[in-house]
Amino acid sequence: MTDTRIEQRAPRIGESAPRPDGIPKVDGSFTFSSDLWHDRMLWGGTLRSPHPSARIRSIDIGPAVAVAGVYAVLTATDVPGNPDYGLEHVDQPVLATDVVRYEGEPVAIVAADHPEAVRLALDAIVVDYELTAPLVDPGKAESSDPIHPDGNLIRRIHLSHGDQDVVGEVVVEGTYEVGMQDQAFLGPESGLAVPAEDGGVDLFIATQWLHGDRDQVAACLGIEPDLVRLTLAGVGGAFGAREDLSLHVHLCLLALYTRRPVKMVYSREESFHGHVHRHPARMWYRHHADRAGNLVRVEARLLLDGGAYASSSSAVIANATCFAAGPYRIPSADIEGVVVRTNNPPCGAMRGFGAVQTCIGHEAQMDRLATALGTDPVELRMQNVLAPGDRLLTGQVITGTAPVAEVLGTCADHPSAATLPSDPMSLPGGAGRTTDPEHVRRGEAVALGFKNLLFSEGFDDYSSAICRLEDGIATVTCACAEVGQGFVTLAQQITREVLGVDDVVLAPASTATVGSAGSTSASRQTWMSGGAVQAACEEVRTTLLTRIAAEHGVDPDELVLADGRVMSLACGLEIDLAEATAEPVESEVEFHHAPTSALDENGQGDAHVSFAFSAHRAIVDVDRDLGLVKVVELTTSQDVGRVLNPLQAVGQLEGGAAQGVGLAVMEEVQVLDGRIRNASFTDYLVPTALDMPPVEIAALVEEPEPGAPFGAKGIGESPSITSTAAVVAAIRAATDLDLTHVPVRPTDIALAEA
């Protein structure tokens, strides 16, 4: 038998690199944060407000303390440091003091030696609530009494751009509503806090930003940040829901109080109350165009419901406002974006971050405009697309890449593989056997959208990385939170590419070993932490080659690192890298992106670093009588700068589209009088394999972005921005209905006035 094994080189940039955690996640051996264990650990639990709005008259913990096995029952008075925390505004109590502002707000925490003792203790805490009328209508927030000392207005942005007196020859107007979406990650909030002998605490936690958490936790504990050490535990998805603190401070309080390790895991229902959601939106738009189809002005009023606490609402409304009209050339705009406080569940970061809601609005408007002009909707878009050198509504000129026309054109022109359904299971209604082929109407539509990459509005954002090369093995240390986006493969690919090594070790992500990597959000980690790793590796390479050049009396410029060797291009010098790095070379860098500026009083300014564009085409089958939808096919093109890991890129595009399909046809946290009615995966539905069509990738448009490592743009958010708008538009095309509420519910179709 011949040995046909080929020595495989580990993947570099542009090559598919399988995830090290891929198979363990499939076979169940991956250690998630909920699997953490310590032999001496206690279990923690949280008592939550059953009311969306109430005053707390008193809390009696006595009966809970008396429960056998209970080690701690803590309330707001036990928080030694800052009583409040928050990502942008410090306005959310660690534990409620005198009032509760949303259903599920934490009121007390318990540690006990068994989960059942935790439950009994939580049941035994007596809270005397005086109910107050909840503020649940965001439209009434500004005119209502403040429900928080910081007031009910979280942020208002009035963007005014260009000539304000322009009126179009053709004007279309529309009002749209987007429901509250949940990130629906599979691994609920969980972590383990271990008290340390130095008076500090080690927290093992699934999160998106270790250092951001650390600083907030330390402030609430009233201890120095370096006494709070966070290490990333196995993350079961994030999508924005882990950008805010949840059980972090609670775990540390309990661990420091009991001097025992404490573990906490939220139930699914608790998770729905324990993290922020995508903001529900009410949007009014008026688009003006000339008869030739050129956009001349857009007006919009955007109202987002921030819920009880600010979270990242200020940044979400900025995105919604800046990208309100989509990736089109528009000389005049008047956009008001408002986000308010209510007694509804708090809202914050979720994949797409404000651009998802407005994409639903501006793309519905573009279709209306096409109808009013009697023109093809793709043609109308193509006629107005942004290009490099154009101005955004913020006045900012696009200096980077913007292959919008190519993204739109490749997607719209891609041949469809969709056939008429033959298997009854693939008809609307699926396994329910509701629908026969003659009940189906097919619709098709295209949506185009964009969003900023990285943090905006003058935030000095950076990531830190350490690269150490020793005995020919590179070790990379970075606190970037791997939440599924693929940094674990990328850090290795970048290191191999720069240093020409195969063996790359990625050290655990921790606040104890390296500076901040920033948040895993805003499509930023490939650029920021990838950039930091690249820069650290390049410094190591320079240092090493300079050293070797000096040792051998050659010019450093003629030396290269490749295939585990240092080689000279000029002479025959060749040294094994392991030998060359017996004495290690190490470098630590802080990588900053180009500075941005704040928005001025007219919403104008160079507030953003870079932009990414995407398009989706959806084909849907609709059962008009029952209002049931089957998404038959999704086709997409995306502006990616450069593909670094093709396998992972496909995964991001498919996963993001699945969340988009969910928002289009089923995903909505239903809130009635401030209470969530469907806090479970029985009733908060996400797409199954029978709901999610194949995703056809028409084009990954590769125009390298200046300033980005290897020219790569972040790709995580775009797929969820345009997919929803495309699916909803296709349902409109199939039904001839306006369908202004997203998700589109069966009743919206079946009981619509014809």
Binding site: S267, A431, G432, R433, T434, T688, A689, L690, L751
Partner: protein
């Protein structure tokens, strides 16, 4: 906890502790436990009781063991003998749930959204009940008494469900907001008995207990041309659908509105009838 091996074991354990919960597939019970809604001190485990498993034919009747799983209802001869039951079982949950969940459990949970209940209602199924003292039989219509309430007495368990083998087509249709793995928003079972020359319709999720659409049944029974297997007059199909919709007593909840449910059950009725009588005027 008692792990029963025979029905007698289980009944004896129940006689001793009448408040014990019965655990078969656990697909309802454990959801309640995990959500903190169900607590119990005693449980009698039924999934190793061979007598409760499987099914047998007795003349024109099938005796379906209470431990028959949804996966088993979809396999073998059941799809031919009681097609609507197999169709309903296929709509339940995921493959894992269908492997674990049982017919007896679905009946005992007595949820308005229980997927097999409209089928059993349309078939006039009989529930065989057993305790250490006694056996008795109740028609499904008297067994389910309210939302998640039934006539099961303390110390009693469901041994089997009896359904007739009918000569005629059967249809089960279920609306959910997702194409699989979804709780019913509204469902309908229609069974045809050619020899009895009648059509029976069971409705799910449109009232506290599963309903028979008796007026609609009576109406359509008189309009069918049994020789051609059709409903010749379109007006009769319309009337049938309207009567079914009118029989529904739905509520608004987070899964759907009453108005939508009434509308949808009428649509399902029309479609089921036209599938069962394909020669009909549409």
């Amino acid at each position: 906890m008692t792990i029963a091996r025979t029905v007698d074991d289980a009944c004896a354990a129940l006689a001793e502790r009448p408040d014990a919960l019965l655990l078969a597939g656990g697909t309802d019970l454990m959801v309640g436990v995990n959500r903190g809604q169900v607590r119990f001190d005693d449980v009698v485990v039924l999934d190793r009781v061979d007598e409760l498993r499987g099914w047998r034919r007795e003349g024109d009747e099938l005796v379906l063991g209470a431990g028959l799983t949804y996966a088993e209802m979809v396999r073998g001869e059941i799809p031919t003998l009681v097609p609507a039951l197999a169709q309903a079982a296929r709509t339940v949950g995921s493959p894992q749930i269908r492997n674990a969940g049982t017919l007896g459990g679905n009946v005992a949970t007595s949820s308005p959204a229980g997927d097999t209940l409209p089928v059993l209602t349309a078939l006039d199924a009989t529930i065989d009940l057993r305790s250490s003292q006694d056996t008795r039989q109740l028609p499904i219509s008297r067994f389910v008494t309210g939302v998640k309430q039934n006539a099961l007495e303390p110390g009693e368990l469901i041994e089997a469900v009896r359904v007739p083998v009918l000569d005629g087509p059967q249809e089960f249709l279920k609306v959910g907001t997702r194409n699989a793995m979804v709780i019913s928003v509204v469902s309908l079972a229609l069974v045809v008995d050619r020899s009895g020359r009648n059509v029976r319709v069971g409705l799910g999720t449109v009232s506290p207990v599963p309903l028979r659409a008796v007026e609609a049944e009576a109406h359509v029974g008189g309009c069918i041309d049994w020789d051609t297997g059709s409903v010749p007059d379109t007006a009769d199909v319309d009337r049938f659908a309207a009567l079914v919709a009118g029989a529904a007593r739905p509520i608004d909840d987070h899964r759907g509105t009453a108005a939508y449910r009434s509308h949808a059950v009428g649509v399902l009725a029309r479609r089921a009838l036209l599938r069962a009588f394909p020669g009909s005027a549409p």
